[in-house]
């Protein structure tokens, strides 16, 4: 049956090896294409605005009075992602601890499947749901009560909420990062040697104390990596944020309270790309992309280094 396999020994091997190396090289080549494309697309705006592109707050595409600055969107990105992290990371850690330390096996397996299902939902559907359903929950159940109680005394809650704001965007982003943060955290918690747990239990520690004194300290840097991976997702998410953040431009995109409308780097690209009136405006949008690319590359490299230090394998693979 395999006799045909015996033919074409050396030549075939060499050719296949070369093809495989070329395919692997293509991965590195893609990164080069990405860097080149983003650089080439944004060079016009950087030569027009210079370094001021990063610190400016204007966004004026009117011919003759063009002025573009990325600062409000950098701030909008950071604030919405920060809200996502503050809400999403503790919940993800709770889920990871529940699945790996508390739940019986017949519960933990379907539960991790369901959490993975949350990752299977396309972000456009999160967006649709957030726009037509979830924002009214947020507005009526969280934002209005907070605003009514503290709106006058604390400027943080001052704005009259509509549900289309940086707070809603942050919460939906939190939901979106739960699958990745909780899955990677679970793998890291699993990688903690059992001797750690046994030592804690033998000293009379309760389950929570075991998690606190034996697991968290051991897994610390890996869990930080998991959180940062989630941050990378939150920073780069586009279409969902575009649908619910309110989409304002210029200085107004710097939110004055957490119930204020805003804009992120990626949402402005998605919003204006098809309506862009000039080459320069397109280039300005690409410039936002360049800032976003650098931000996410730094975040991802940091996270991967932290995670692989603990598990010694790529996150996402369990055997």
């Amino acid at each position: 049956m395999y006799s045909s396999l015996l033919q074409g020994k050396h030549k075939g091997d060499r050719i296949f090896h070369i093809v495989a190396v070329a395919a692997a090289g293509y991965t590195l080549f893609m990164l080069a294409i990405i860097a080149f494309s983003v650089g080439d697309g944004s060079k016009e705006i950087f030569s027009f605005e210079g370094f001021g592109f990063l610190t400016g707050t204007d966004w004026n595409p009117v011919e003759g009075r063009e002025s573009y600055g990325a600062l409000p969107y950098i701030i909008g990105t950071l604030i919405s992602s920060a809200i996502a992290m503050i809400i999403g990371v503790p919940i993800s850690l709770g889920i990871a601890v529940f699945i790996s330390e508390m739940a019986p096996r017949r519960l933990s397996t379907p539960l991790s499947f369901i959490i993975e299902l949350l990752a299977a939902v396309p972000s456009i559907i999160y967006g649709l749901w957030a726009l037509f359903v979830f924002r009214f929950w947020i507005r009526d159940l969280i934002e209005m009560p907070l605003h009514n109680a503290f709106g006058e005394s604390i400027p943080f809650f001052a704005q009259t909420p509509f549900g289309l704001d940086v707070f809603t965007a942050g919460i939906v982003l939190a939901i979106m990062i739960i699958p990745i943060v909780s899955s990677v955290s679970r793998e890291i918690i699993k990688a903690v040697p059992n001797s750690q747990r046994e030592a804690a239990y033998s000293l009379g520690a309760t389950r929570w104390e075991t998690v606190r004194v034996a697991i968290f300290p051991y897994a610390k840097s890996g869990l930080l990596g998991a959180a940062i991976l989630g941050l990378g997702r939150a920073v780069g998410e586009t279409i969902l944020v575009t649908m619910i953040i309110g989409n304002v431009v210029g200085i107004a995109a710097i939110p004055s309270s957490i119930f204020d409308q805003s804009q992120t780097l990626s949402s402005l690209i998605a919003n204006e790309f098809n309506e862009a009136s000039s080459e320069l405006q397109i280039s300005a949008l690409m410039g936002l992309g360049a800032v976003l690319l650098i931000l996410t590359i730094v975040i991802n490299i940091g996270a991967r280094l932290l995670v692989s230090k603990i598990t010694k394998v790529s996150p996402g693979v369990r055997e």
Binding site: L5, L6, G8, H10, D13, F16, A23, A24, Y26, T27, L28, M30, L31, I34, S37, D40, P90, G94, I95, I114, L117, A119, A120, V121, P122, I124, I125, Y126, L128, L131, F132, V133, F134, P179, I180, S183, E187, T206, W208, V211, L229, R233, I239, M243, S266, I269, N274, M286, G289, L292, L293, T296, N300, A303, R304, S314, G316, V317, R318, E319
Partner: protein, 306 residues
């Protein structure tokens, strides 16, 4: 004597008291933290349940034969359908897979079967991982600058190219891991028969790794089928059917986005209908695959981390 004994008894009582008080406090904290973990799980399940419920509830009423077979009509009246979007998603995602799957598989084979831990393979592994985490809108910029500007038109090619960049890193990693868990004895047995390495890899090792790779490809396909951001800058979206690979085309996520931004109730209803079609494509693909393929392999793939 009597006194000493009663004092001892007293002390024991005190120590027991302290210990039980401490342990009841410990137990209370433990209970609170356990409850917190359960609340975390529930708070993740509520959105998933609500999303699925709303999509099915609002989507079902929009779906009809006309909806699935006609091009879009008036937003206001809710006429027409999403047929070009379904067609476009199948074409763009299909083309992206034709580019992405072979490159990803070959690259994964190289990492597992040919490369060691040298500088080049380590660099490929590392940057491949970094590539998985990059925002999809950046791939849109890449498709725009390197294909749309080059060809002078928004096109299927640009969209497929952008989506293939998202797909390849996923396939690479899954292929490498699927090949790595194939026992070496299989390779050695084949090698002792004098079969050349490339044939061992492609026809023998591949047999064991196949289901893992297939899972990875389906996962990558369902991931890119739901992408919106890169398509805005590459295929643009249209209400017409496919006219050629170098012209614009529609896609389901793009159509949902456009429908949701209309001010009309009927457009929103169509948006939910399109969302139901999209989610059915994505979920059925992954659930069916999970039931039929993955149960056979020891290698478990976690889609949440891609």
């Amino acid at each position: 004597m009597q006194q000493k004994e009663s004092r001892q008894e007293d002390n024991r009582q005190k120590i027991q008291d302290i210990m039980s008080r401490q342990s009841s406090k410990k137990k209370l904290i433990d209970r609170i933290m356990s409850a917190f973990a359960i609340i975390c799980v529930i708070s993740a399940l509520i959105p998933l349940g609500s999303i699925l419920f709303e999509v099915v509830k609002n989507g079902i009423s929009a779906i009809s034969i006309e909806f699935l077979t006609q091009p879009p009509g008036s937003f206001f009246l809710g006429h027409g359908g999403i047929a070009p979007a379904i067609q476009g998603t199948l074409i763009v995602v299909g083309l992206a897979s034709l580019i992405g799957a072979p490159v990803g598989i070959l690259s994964g084979i190289y990492l597992s079967e040919y490369a060691g831990n040298g500088v080049f393979p380590s660099a490929v592994r590392f940057f491949n991982d970094v590539l998985t985490g990059l925002p999809s809108i950046v791939m849109g910029i890449v498709g725009y600058v390197s294909i749309v500007l080059l060809l002078g038109s928004f096109s299927v090619w640009a969209g497929a190219f952008a989506l293939s960049i998202i797909m390849i890193p996923i396939v690479v990693r899954v292929t490498e891991e699927s090949f790595k868990i194939v026992p070496n004895s299989i390779r050695e047995a084949a090698h002792s028969l004098g079969i050349p390495k490339w044939k061992i890899t492609l026809f023998i090792t591949m047999k064991s790794a196949k289901s893992g790779i297939l899972t990875g490809i389906v996962l990558a396909v369902s991931r890119i089928a739901g992408e919106t951001a890169p398509l805005i800058m590459t295929i643009l979206g249209t209400s017409l059917f496919f006219t050629g690979f170098s012209g614009p085309i529609d896609a389901l996520p793009l159509r949902i986005w456009r429908l949701a931004s209309q001010p009309y109730e009927s457009a929103h209803s169509q948006g939910w209908g399109a969302a139901l079609v999209l989610i059915l494509i994505v979920l059925i693909l992954s659930v069916v695959l999970r039931l039929f393929v993955q149960s056979k392999t020891g290698y478990k793939l976690n889609r949440a981390t891609f």
